[in-house]
């Protein structure tokens, strides 16, 4: 990142000034956004007493060089924009250079930070805006900010805070939304010593939704994707069987920024058409990507709101994205003609509207807001209204497994298996590629290769996340004849490969010896192993190389299309698939299951 500089007066004035720090949740939001801007891929948030007494945010981001640390606490000091023009191309979350000084002014703040390349870190501390410490300390790479006794020097504002229980909900809400907006970042939220959630940070938004909302919501998710002109919409929404009494669970992320927008909210709701009961609101997370010059984020001091210059077009696209996702989600009608896209002429499109909706957290201060924590434990009772052809069966209680009795070892999303169907029966294999399954009133076609990929991927991921990668040392090391260049690359990568469970060593100048492989890939053929290692390396040293590696590993380890499977093997595969976090799409994003509803088949045969 570029060094921090003080913005010129004129630019500073262009930035709408305002209160940055409203309540503990806003402190958390500012600190987490700073961590995200600093490129962190793991952020730990801990609060006590709803954040009123204690807030701590620890990241593994870039850190601040020691000579710039004091500057970071000066008003309008930012490393993120340089000039007024930059304001129209904002890609970072922060840009005002206002957050840290504002927080430091009303609390006891301590920051310890160290860029990876500096040998020593810096500790800086403030009390009510007065600097109390500035020293060099040993510290892990990254930044840790602790904020204690918020508003201790402004008793009037302190009095304005709510009970810890309700402040806590605001914190859960904002951290949840930030986690949804950043699925490639691992978030861990702890409140009064209790872990509220951990997201896997593997780039999979669906997994984040599972972590935050739990299995009830997770298993009713429908993927959304739509690309048009200058907006790309993607994300997940929940099927209409599940809904809430407020808009709290509607999350919109525009160009990486979590925003409040009644325009987007009503577009999403409209997309459900008549499927939701009155005064009930959907659950969903939509990510919109559009040209940064088409949005203005500097509308509100807390950056919560945005202004869109193409609002009616965006409204229409969001509506259609949601509508289509719901249409194709459950009752898969393989014989239907594709509908026209341009059906929204009848949709009431508002013109250019500036979003002025009060964010729900303010509005619902007095109302009986549903507790985030309890809604996470599924307070809503879904009206399972039988969909013409969805053939949903009433939910079966989750099977009691050993994990009920044993303390969960699972560090990541502690989700229970997705049970979409009450029962399923393997019919057989088609073309040695697809497994046919009867599941309640649906016929499922399961692609055996991608299904197995999904299973293996989750297995490898769980091992990596819980630091329990299991590797099988080889009795007979495998000899890869790679040629000098490739062999050298593999050796350069040997530390990263070891983390994934591959132990490689040099063998002459042209060859490598593989001494162990991940347990899931035991008895991989030499040729496949070679392709796999080169594939992992080819992705380059992006922060994402692990995800790529796991995808490739799953692919190599999975049964191939064209391989005949015994009935027992098919049963195993399908059982494991249905217990994965997301049985519907493979790690590459391809569908795993195609569902044919009985009613559609009946109709096809003219039975109804």
């Amino acid at each position: 990142m570029s060094p921090i500089i003080v913005l010129e007066e004129t630019i500073a004035n262009k930035i709408a000034a305002g209160e940055v720090v409203e309540r503990p949740a806003s402190v958390v939001k500012e600190l987490v956004e700073n961590s995200l801007d600093a490129g962190a891929d793991s952020i730990d948030i801990e609060i006590r007493e709803g954040g009123k007494e204690y807030i701590r945010v620890v990241d593994n981001g870039r850190g601040i060089p020691s000579d710039e640390v004091p500057l970071a606490f000066e008003r309008h000091a930012t490393s993120k924009i340089r000039s007024a023009d930059d304001l129209f191309r904002i890609v970072t979350l922060g840009f005002r250079g206002e957050a840290l000084p504002s927080i430091a002014a009303v609390s006891e703040l301590e920051m310890v930070t160290r860029p990876e390349e500096s040998p020593m870190g810096t500790l800086i501390a403030f009390s009510g805006g007065r600097r109390t410490r500035l020293e060099s300390v040993g510290a892990p790479a990254g930044t840790a900010v602790t904020v204690k006794r918020l508003f201790f020097n402004t008793p009037a504002r302190y009095k304005f805070l709510n009970q810890a229980a309700s402040e806590r909900r605001y914190v859960y809400d904002i951290v949840g939304r930030l986690a949804l907006a950043n699925p490639e970042v691992r978030f861990r939220l702890v409140s009064d010593g209790e872990e509220i959630f951990v997201t896997p940070g593997d780039g999979n938004m669906e997994a984040v939704i599972w972590s935050i909302y739990g299995s009830r919501v997770g298993k009713y998710l429908v993927p959304v994707y739509r690309e048009s002109g200058h907006v790309v919409i993607s994300g997940y929404i929940c099927r209409p069987e599940i809904h809430r009494g407020n808009r709290q669970a509607e999350t919109f992320i525009v160009n990486g920024r979590v925003v409040e927008s009644s325009l987007l909210a009503s577009a999403m709701e409209k997309g459900y058409q008549t499927m939701l009961p009155r005064r009930r609101y959907p659950i969903g997370v939509l990510t919109l990507t559009l040209d940064p010059s088409k949005i203005d984020v500097n509308v509100h001091p807390t950056k919560r709101e945005i202004r869109l210059s193409d609002s009616s077009e965006v409204y229409k696209q969001v509506l259609l994205a949601v509508k289509h996702a719901l249409e194709i989600s459950i009752p898969f009608d393989p014989w239907a003609f594709p509908g026209s896209d341009e059906t929204s002429q009848d949709a009431d499109q508002p013109g250019f509207v500036q979003e002025t909706l009060e964010p729900p957290i303010v509005k619902e201060r007095s109302a009986a807001a549903v507790s985030y924590a309890t809604s996470r434990r599924e307070t809503e009772s879904p009206t399972v209204h039988r969909h013409s052809s969805a053939g949903l069966s009433p939910e079966v209680p989750p099977r009691r497994t050993l994990s009920d009795a044993v303390p969960s070892q699972c560090g990541a999303a502690g989700t229970s298996p997705a049970r979409h169907w009450a029962s399923h029966r393997i019919i057989g294999q088609f073309q040695a590629t697809y497994i046919l399954v009867e599941a309640d009133r649906e016929l499922l076609l399961i692609d055996q290769h991608v299904a197995h990929e999904r299973i293996l991927y989750e297995g490898f991921l769980a091992e990596l996340q819980t630091s329990s990668v299991k590797t099988q040392p080889l009795l007979v090391p495998l000899h890869l004849e790679l040629g000098p260049a490739a062999a050298a690359r593999v050796i350069e990568w040997s530390r990263k490969l070891a983390e994934l469970g591959f132990e490689v060593e040099q063998f002459g100048v042209k060859d490598c010896l593989v001494r162990s492989v991940p347990v899931g890939l035991t008895s991989i053929a030499v040729k496949d192993l070679e392709e796999l290692l080169l594939g992992i390396i080819a992705a380059g040293e992006t922060s994402d190389y692990r995800h790529n590696a796991l995808v490739l590993m799953a692919c190599k380890g999975a049964v191939k299309a064209g391989e005949e499977l015994t009935p027992a093997a098919m049963q195993d595969l399908v059982d494991s698939l249905l217990s994965t976090k997301n049985p519907f799409t493979c790690p590459h994003g391809r569908p795993v299951i195609v569902r044919l509803a009985l009613d559609d088949i009946h109709r096809r045969f003219g039975r109804r």
Partner: protein, 369 residues
């Protein structure tokens, strides 16, 4: 061609060769079964060019000849015929084969028999002759350790070697290795790598009859097995390549030796095996003071723990293994007790039946990083 035999005898021959019929019609003739009759001898043959099987039987015949009929229909027909006599004759003018049994009469189109490949040009001299039962045991106790469906790699095969008056079978998928041997006198030394499938097909053909004898011969890049008593031959392609030196892999000793009940161990491991929801189940074996503790866990599922009392010689030791690897071996032993050699660290473990030094299983422990 014209001959008479019984439905039972005919079916016996067809069942033997049926598995060698090519199921995809790379070469359409190979989806057929070749029948040849000469001097009162019926030869039935099928091949998919990887392996070929030929079975013979005596029949009453007054006209020699040869035909090829499509296996997919001919075999089920013979299976469904009533027991008793069967009359088979070629109708060359119609290019048909007629089969009569009971009151029924059936005709099949035939294919050109000249184009059907022979299995071996000449009868090679056998390298080794031995009781079939030995081969049955040796295959059963090795073939599972070969890699499945790995094309032409040597790890997808079983090394069959004769030296120093003993026949040895070795298979490894690189993480574990099976070694099996039997003393067989009067052979000529050889070393071949059989595809795993060949072993499986051979095993299927080999009878349990204790008098049955098996001959092994080389055809250069192929191997020929002859079942004398049954009058059956199997010819298979061999795998090419260098088989790793297995003698370096088998440890000469281990730190701790354990004597355990095979059936107890199998049932405990079968329970532990359930702790592998998304990957292979791993079990940690901790041996201390005559007790072996088995522990396995799955991050998403839970864990299993149990203890077996065993006899222990040597210090306490802990090692983790893939459950399947242990079960594979234990399920193929005939003894009710096994000797297990464990060493700490990353040295391989070893399992042998209690009273048998001819079957050795070596496996690498799993490491958690």
């Amino acid at each position: 061609m014209r001959f008479a035999t019984t439905q039972g005898e005919m079916l016996r021959c067809l069942d033997m060769v049926g598995r060698a019929v090519a199921n995809r019609d790379v070469n359409p003739i190979l989806t057929g079964i070749y029948l040849e009759c000469e001097n009162g001898r019926l030869t039935v043959r099928a091949t998919d060019s990887e392996i070929g099987i030929e079975a013979c039987t005596s029949v009453e015949s007054d006209q020699p000849g040869k035909v090829v009929v499509e296996a997919k229909y001919f075999l089920p027909l013979v299976r469904r015929l009533p027991g008793g006599d069967v009359f088979v004759q070629e109708l060359p003018e119609h290019q048909m084969l007629e089969i009569r049994a009971g009151t029924g009469s059936f005709r099949f189109q035939t294919m050109a028999a000249d184009q059907f490949p022979a299995l071996a040009a000449a009868e090679p001299k056998p390298l080794l002759r031995m009781p079939s039962q030995i081969a049955v045991r040796m295959i059963r106790q090795t073939v599972y350790a070969a890699q499945k469906d790995q094309g032409h790699s040597v790890f997808g095969g079983v090394l069959m070697e004769y030296a120093d008056g003993e026949l040895r079978f070795v298979a490894t998928d690189t993480s574990r290795l099976c070694f099996n041997r039997a003393a067989v006198p009067n052979g000529e030394n050889f070393k071949m790598i059989l595809p795993a499938r060949t072993c499986v097909e051979l095993q299927r053909l080999l009878p349990s009859n204790p008098d049955s004898m098996l001959e092994i011969a080389s055809l250069g890049s192929q191997v020929l097995f002859r079942l004398e008593t049954e009058d059956v031959i199997l010819v298979s392609r061999l795998l090419e390549g260098q088989y790793p030196d297995y003698t370096r892999v088998i440890p000469s000793q281990t730190d701790t030796e354990i004597l355990a009940s095979c059936s107890e161990l199998i049932s405990a491991l079968e329970r532990a095996e359930l702790m592998g929801k998304k990957g292979p189940a791993i079990v940690t074996l901790s041996v201390e003071e005559g007790i072996m503790k088995l522990e396995s866990r799955d991050v998403e599922l839970g864990e299993a723990n149990e203890s077996l009392s065993i006899e222990q010689k040597g210090p306490s030791v802990t090692s983790a293994f893939q459950v399947r690897f242990l079960l594979d071996m234990l399920k193929t032993t005939d003894s009710d007790k096994v000797r297990m050699g464990l060493s700490s660290g990353l040295s391989p473990g070893m399992i042998r039946p209690v009273d048998d030094d001819d079957y050795i299983y070596v496996l690498m422990p799993v490491r958690v990083i």
